[in-house]
Symmetry: C2
Subunit: 150 residues, 2 copies
């Protein structure tokens, strides 16, 4: 990629390093559009049914919160070669609601060089997706494949 030289490499990461994204305001229309395509359940689609549900009001799909978190991470972390996730753990401690103003705060928890492939390593990144009250709506701990400088 043309801008590869400008991106972050494995050597640029260290434990405790912190990255914060810009904010994204989530509309009720976005919530319903995502849910209609990927998670068509009443509590993501219809206000009266959502009021009577576990969520007690319209809530975004957890996978919508995850997808928006990815968007904010892509905008935040210019890793050389891109953000390549091998997997991770995700939790949704509270619902994401229409009108929520989301942002991500990410902390590097581990940087582990690969033993078998000396050109790369794994960065463990804990990302809290916070709403406008600084409450976490998602906590993601992801393992990212990151390359060394040539």
């Amino acid at each position: 990629m043309a801008d590869a030289a400008a991106g972050l490499h494995l050597e640029d990461f260290h434990d405790g390093q912190r990255f914060e994204s810009t904010r994204h305001t989530l509309s009720v229309e976005e919530i319903k559009r995502f849910a209609a395509e990927f998670d068509p359940q009443p509590f993501h689609l219809d206000e009266p049914e959502a009021e009577a549900s576990f969520f007690r009001g319209l809530a975004a799909s957890g996978w919508h919160t995850a997808a928006l978190t990815m968007r904010m991470l892509v905008e935040t972390l210019p890793i050389d070669g891109g953000l390549i996730g091998a997997g991770g753990e995700v939790a949704w401690p509270r619902p994401t609601r229409p009108g929520d103003v989301l942002r991500t705060v990410s902390t590097v928890e581990a940087v582990v060089p690969s033993r078998s492939r000396p050109d790369r390593g794994l960065v463990t990144l804990r990302t809290e997706t916070l709403n406008q009250n600084d409450e976490p709506v998602q906590v993601l701990t992801a393992r990212l494949v990151v390359f060394r400088r040539r």
Copy 2:
């Protein structure tokens, strides 16, 4: 909900129970549309750049595979009150490609009644999202909140 009585309750789940979804063929247009909104990286958007990347060809965002998996789970598991995920672990052992025919195979790994809330419990569900060659493109182990019959 009107059809609540017809849905699955905590008592209907047991270890080793298996659920299989119908199939979904993923188009290149869907991959690029999801990526443009949620994961705008070259290897999800542009064939020549994808060829030169870690993925050696266009690949769907892992979060797109996750969202499609959710859609297939909603169609597969008619749980009373809906599919309510508390969180889980996700891994993407290989890329999802344009034209892949995806389906999910889910296995109940644990059914744990809540000690503090006798009306509900947690079901641990391991869902493999398989391509047309029966290779897993995603493995999700999710904790679902499931209610007892009244």
